[in-house]
Symmetry: C2
Subunit: 288 residues, 2 copies
Amino acid sequence: MMRDFSRGTAHLSINTATLRKQLPLPGIIEACATRSIPAICPWRDQVAAAGLDATAKQIKAAGLALSGYCRGGFFTAADAAGLEAALEDNHRAIDEAATLGAPCLVLVVGSLPGALTGTPAYNDIGLARSQVFDGIAATLDYARKASIPLAIEPLHPMQGADRACVNTLEQALDICDALDPGRTGALGVALDTYHVWWDPKLEAQIARAGRERLLAYHICDWLNPTRDLLNDRGMMGDGIIELKKVRGWVEATGYTGFAEVEIFSDRWWSLSADEVLDTCIARYGTVV
Amino acid sequence: MMRDFSRGTAHLSINTATLRKQLPLPGIIEACATRSIPAICPWRDQVAAAGLDATAKQIKAAGLALSGYCRGGFFTAADAAGLEAALEDNHRAIDEAATLGAPCLVLVVGSLPGALTGTPAYNDIGLARSQVFDGIAATLDYARKASIPLAIEPLHPMQGADRACVNTLEQALDICDALDPGRTGALGVALDTYHVWWDPKLEAQIARAGRERLLAYHICDWLNPTRDLLNDRGMMGDGIIELKKVRGWVEATGYTGFAEVEIFSDRWWSLSADEVLDTCIARYGTVV
């Protein structure tokens, strides 16, 4: 028995990257509140630009909930100083998440260090995975104390060299099982349909994750054809992802959280915030 | 103990798509033979353009071996007539492979029917996977009689909507185990580093495949950044794939076949066949 999304926007959240080219964060918050969109998931750079405390106040005053905070992670580095700096940065992200009242910190874990900005310092993805595991392990205690669950986001394998070396839900859950065998809620996953729709083990691994591990649910669509590896995500309904089927699997675990729209798209960034949000609401009510 | 690729080209094969923009197939065969490249893997469209019998004769006269034949597959369809036509087409591909003396037919299995040419007839990837399974099952008997092993090629998940709904080595091997539990050699996989390098289970699944299931080994590189989902493959050594490490895993199974270079790249297609082949040989001897 799935939740009925056709009546209102009660379970809709907007990831603020979806409007990052149109509006600064205060404008995004205002635009969402005006439309009775009940939640957002803000990004650190947008929060920093608007000011952390001011943002926390505005979100509270607007009556918005958060569906997460983007993002921690990028645990890999070429040397010990880099690894330590990554841990420090994740502590700051956790502190910010706590100030904002976020229900979790989304982790884009990183991969070959330096790949995102040019030349990788090494190409041993096994080493990257080991550094990521150690980084999450080292961060978990701090996160527990701050009561901020860590949500590992498996990224699509096409982003496996530069953004995240955790590329399947199974792999993310293996890390969760190793570091939080008691399923305490302190460690789980952020499931983004864009990254995982292709996975032949998706249904089984969502069931394995269960309610305790499913900390966030992100939606958008996979366009056919897809013309860019990063910024050609589709609006829900414009692509080939079976969004209702996947949501059915997610809700079968007992998930009661938000469906968070996160669209990186040169096309949608070129349209007005009004048009994007109106389309998100319309699609949420019909195809999500 | 890995084979030494630094002395000569004994285990090098060129997939003829690598030179598809520069030369017709007879010219590719001649260019490879001239350089003492011992094997090729031709594509059906190139063979059809040159003539099947003429190609078989030229390959034999040139003393070249084949490392495979590209490609069968595309088993999915919107209706029964389409499914039947796909089976017929795979029979023809098997016949051609036999005429050419190919050691296997590489299967790019297909995914959402019609996605490759525009609009998918459906978006149920589970249905596509079911049709693929049935298609391979229905083709296997014909392939056995022709003594042409079928090599399922898992494609990168970014090609999961339009080209292949088999996207991990584990998934391909599950199909092999279901349809050929006796590991007879009639069914196996074509392992392309480009499609599988990111897979956290790669080493374990290569070991699981073993010599009986590893029918072909394709190489190229993953560029960082990658700018196109289809035609931006890298020359070996220009990207981040740990080619020697993966070859070590492959050879640990007892694999003694060719390392087949398959590069779809607008950049390499714009260079002369001489330059491409010379570079392939140089990289084969150093970074593969």
